[in-house]
Point group: D3
Chain length 318, copies 6
């Protein structure tokens, strides 16, 4: 599992695929215009995109606007919708809201690639295998699919279509109820996952006589989270107006495995005074906080470590 | 599956058990003081009680106040909590809120039952088997258990502890999310049930841009439903203030298998005018509507048929 | 489970649905123009159509040409594709070859049904429940769906798209390899079915050193079968050129549970002389034989019995 | 998972077992006379043999003829027959065709091993553990089992008994239909395997209107393959008469994970001209190509690397 | 499920099979020489025999000695060994102790059945279907199988090979630990059975500080039981020397569903005085008590009812 | 998985938890007074204790008496009771015999931790993560839980309550029947475990005509075992009076994966002469031998290696 940020276009006549795992892209700002072997996907802020292992693609930035976000490379299995259990047949992320590209052939096969070679216009195919990058060239476009059918394809999902459930009278549910996509862990107890992708989205809080902040807790999962829209909410867990703390833009947080976490003292004081008999819509500015949960260890790459230590302001420059 | 109403005490020195199935008792008004072989359960309005097959019990009315309600006799399997799936480990009916009796021995074994026989004070044990009643007598109390352990016992549950979930932003979930207890149907597709006991309880409705009434639909289940508290709610499905229709006390309804049902025209008009951007707490007078769903056919007993046809007012007198 | 033949149009302004079970229609000759609540399906010879329980439909005959065939009413569960196991992800009936209707609204809601009532043009809705027919009227068309999504819908399948597998070198496989759709029997051992719909279709027989006729056998299933195209094949099990036996048009056969059956003596003699080292395409005239297998008892209806006994001329000659 | 070739007898009075995993032996030429603790197995060309973890054995060469082939050491679980799914109860490799040894005691217990020690005739027991070899000696034969029962034993299978299935009318099935034995991967999605052993055997190709060559594809599995009989077939994937390419004796091929592979241009041209309306028996010279599929990485041992780089003459010519 | 006694030979040239279900034969006295289509089984006292649905057989009495016992006709599924769970891979009834017949062809096919017809020596085949008997004749023996393989065959089991487990220090286990064969009930909760065949066999009782008699209990199963060897044991549940009660020969007992049963007062008194610190072997005369447990209702046939009511001695005459 | 011995108290005002795995404590001598966040557990000799991952605890020695034993740290999943299968609903370790602590709050919150800081009385929290120890301090007690509910808690179990089963007439069962707790291995075949904790406890051996010693065998598991009570039994596998071998106090043994083991020659001679028709209670001095079975490799730590090699006197004499 790797997390990194995307800040640049891919070069012309170059395509990439990860042979190591399925990619989950989460743009936080800007948009991605992704051309894949199976068609095109325009992925905007607040949407996510999945590109299966081995599917070649070329990403450009619409209007040349920069885009920033996260990629999760799933080294095992596939993301899929969680079993809904008692929730029934609809709710949370619904099958009908996932969008699948239509085939798009952007080249010409008539000259058998001769022009490409003549003009030194060959395509460069970059592949990631075993954590390293490899490349080769070919004389024709990899985006030469005129039609396809099957069940392994790239897709995108608009997080605003996530039909979030919540407690309708009192108490708090498990955050598992926020899971959008899960990669089940068949090597462990049923119900566990290699990676859960969840979102904490705008919603009504109506639980009466209930303390609305997450309690102070520790568990076995690594919880990596961040806002998708840069105007941060005044809600937990990103900041508290009461205490004047605010996340810098594109901030992210990590609750390491078995480290205790929860609301701050200031959050607690504010929550104590809150009227829990009056419904409140939270994250009303549209903010979606994404949450990646995994029981695999997460490590800091050298690049990230250097960014952080060499930049006294304490965060990477964008 | 049988549904009938309880209106009288059991005679003194008499105990009953159903050998045909597990009993689910739903008092609508008044309370039941239930002495079972495994101890005593005081079951009040808005609580339910399960008595397993073959467990003898004697029911009395606290303070002599009448009690009315429903009994469901489950001829196959046991009621159990539904699998929560993505809901996580808590929510809906929680294990910790079910109450189990402590052993209670209300007799004396010292005289070996001699006094009982001398005084013609024998116990009468009534059993229901194959839909008929059978009886025998014995010289000592059947409530002679001084201590027990095991996993098959009577229990009660306070429906106000049901932690109801709901859509927190938009759209509607399946009513399966209201299920308290289910008796799975192992003879059919996974996820189906012989009987589901659900409650439609007071809760906040916050789904925005959503039409809040059940749509007009038909399905394969028999849906038998009724209010547990006699002051009916102005909400669907029991009545509509707009149209002046109100259920008589203790009314119940049945949506037969594959018969189309939903909100009325008047309900629809009212819902159309509703502001769905403002959260509303529904069933605010505390009303819990119970719902029994089964795919087994339900028939009217002769007694009920005669009540209805011989009583011009159209409903049984209480 | 019921089997009967369809020979007439449905009356105008009349719609039908079975509330008892899912319908499988197998036209043997002619075609069916089926208007359902979810859209229209033109079902031709050699296609099958599934209409789920409770979906209203009206069937007309294209060009007024008569149509004949069978209907199987599945009283339990749904038809679905069988698990392929080692066959892999494609083969037999493929998901992509099933055709689903688009919504089609054939009426007008502008007058609220007033014209219909004025002109006595009301719709008659006929429903089958508990094996009996019931009807009611309504002032507007039941085909008033302008758009839909979901997973319970009517669909059709062209049997010529069935990608039949077979032994590629020697021996014979189980006829389960011919199953198109199955209705699993959850009340019995895994792998059993309430009803299997299979087809014995044109295919190459290449198994070397193998006797190509079904051996003489008995099993627990009722096997009901018939040709879909009326020009019968000279192959078993319908006739044998060698012995001059031929089925009359629209003949069908039944191998009752535990009754022994197999090839005839004449078939046996012909098969003995066959060169099994030379591939042969069988059922080369395009014939598809359908096969319904069930472990439920099948009974002759009074109508069928009277047909057969009172009208000797009407009976197929054997 | 290891692959290597066997070219020599085991020394006298020496037995071997792998404590690391179950062995699958695939002799390509010659035969193996294998004496195991549970009896003797004569394994000829076109047969395979499984020896469970920890079962001691001594392999000799019948008639002193050399034997060459592959061994797969399965470090996890056991090989077993794949689930047949819709194929039914027989087909592919059938249980009845696997052959199990009878107990064979080749020593004498009467002298308690004294003679052995006197004559310095001790047995050497070699074990493989953690990828290394260990040895000890003992004064008596390890092949001292006079009778046994149980379910963990060595066995052999004649690949000519594989009852291969294929498309009987059109299209191509998944190559999973060629699997003989599989070692399921319980740590991944149901249906995946640590190792599949498949054979591409002589069979009839009859699929009409179907292009008979494997299409150009890439997937997550390592595919290691080779011919079992040394006179190679003119069919794909080993050579093409059209282009004059032929494999050297005992050649093998590897399609690495996610590397694209398929038929060559010459194969394609030939296939285009082929009459696909005429059945053809392929691999008619009896050739069986074995195929080992695994999602584990495969590495080249130092020995193999040195062979290839230091001895150009020893390398197969392509 | 039917239970009846066998007291006579089958006529010559007559064979029988039940098309309704699998037969379990339990001879209590004498022996059965059973010729089946798949071979011969000599079933002696203290052995049981299973004949699958539809397998024709002819039963004769060795030495003309009468035989008496029970037959259970299983209308659903098959008997099989129970899952052992924590017991591990052996114990209770072991696979290796079931005995399967070899093919036995007792006729001649040389004359094509002509002699049989000439001499009026035809075979009569009697079948049971829908609870009724049907017959037809054929000119040749039904026992014409010269060899067979497969997984559906008759078999026998010697109950003395049942490797009974028991508590080795204190307390009592569930009687499920005595189950020999079970017919799982897939239509109910996992772990339930349509029919369990168990035996209470000679064994050591060593549980210390444990009251060795079954406690007074009631459950949902019908328990039908009887001794297999006619010299009844002085142990519970058949008699008590203490109270002078003894079963008549071939007696049987039934504990109906939900009827309370257990040891008698006299048994209780004797057990109280017993030294439970000294191991005791129980049922030392070799007695095996069989136990059939089912949750299906059991009814008395007219024949049995008449026997009992018309014969003042209170039991059928043998 | 780690095994080590505990010989000292934890320091005052210090708490520990393993963030790496669930702890299984097996005191062999002495007792442990364990204060956990969820309450106190007094764990005596012949009891075991489980402390879940991340639960802080402080262990002291009652009466200052030293305590010695083993700890198994389970790096994956949780210990749970094995499925009983045919054993039924009780037997072996029963749910009702596990003991769970009540909440115990040993501090005061009134001063908000000020006194602690003033007096330099801070608590030190030591955590084990990634096999290393980490610490931090806090100003208040970690044992500040006044009440709790949930399903993840520490518990203890008295091994004398293990209701051991055994063969009641003849033969030997699998040692799996001795399993107390198991940690299932979901990444391997169903029925396998990451770790099984079993006990070989005092019990009656009554199997007739059965050789009572474990046969000479090898398997894939590492078997680590030792006596819990220091006065060793004269029974196998720890010593044999016949041969004069006795284990030194606190000895332990390891049967490595695939290494052959079983009874010694002397044990064999003694067993041969034994009267197997007379029941014998074995391990009559109360000895419980624990057995940890795992298929993971076990390694010797440096500390243990140095102990053994540098301090010959400290090594147990064999």
């Amino acid at each position: 599992m790797w997390l990194f940020s995307l800040t640049e276009d891919m070069p012309e006549r170059q395509a990439f695929s990860s042979l190591d795992g399925e990619l989950l892209l989460i743009p936080q700002a800007g948009a991605l215009d992704i051309q894949t072997e199976l068609g095109k996907l325009m992925v905007r802020q607040n949407e996510i995109c999945i590109i299966p292992r081995g599917v070649r693609h070329r990403i450009t930035l619409p209007g040349g606007q920069p885009c920033r976000g996260y990629i999760c490379e799933l080294h095992q299995g596939h993301f899929r919708l969680p079993d809904l259990g008692i929730v029934g047949s609809t709710g949370l992320a619904n099958v009908r809201d996932f969008q699948i590209p239509m085939a798009f052939f952007d080249g010409s096969l008539s000259d058998g690639g001769k022009v490409a070679r003549a003009n030194n216009n060959e395509w460069k195919i970059v592949s990631r295998l075993g954590g390293r990058l490899w490349s080769c060239t070919q004389s024709h476009t990899p985006f030469d699919v005129a039609g396809w059918h099957g069940t392994c394809y790239p897709y995108k999902y608009d997080l605003a279509r996530f039909c979030v459930l919540g407690n309708a009278l009192f108490d708090e549910h498990d955050p598992s109820l926020f899971v959008v996509l899960t990669a089940p862990n068949y090597a462990a107890e049923p119900g566990t996952a290699v990676m859960d992708f969840a979102i904490v989205s705008p919603r009504w809080n109506v639980a009466e006589d209930t303390y609305w902040l997450p309690y102070w807790h520790r568990n076995t999962m690594q919880e990596f989270f961040g806002p998708i829209i840069s105007n941060q909410s005044p809600e937990y867990p990103f900041s508290s107006e009461k205490t004047g703390h605010q996340f810098a833009p594109f901030a992210a947080g990590l609750h390491g495995s078995m480290s205790t976490h929860g609301a701050t003292e200031a959050d607690y004081q504010a929550a104590q005074k809150r009227d829990t008999h009056k419904p409140a819509k939270v994250q009303t500015n549209g903010l979606n906080i994404f949450l990646m949960e995994t029981d695999k260890p997460l490590a800091l790459s050298d690049w990230a470590f250097n960014c952080a230590t060499k930049n006294p302001a304490g965060r990477p420059k964008m």
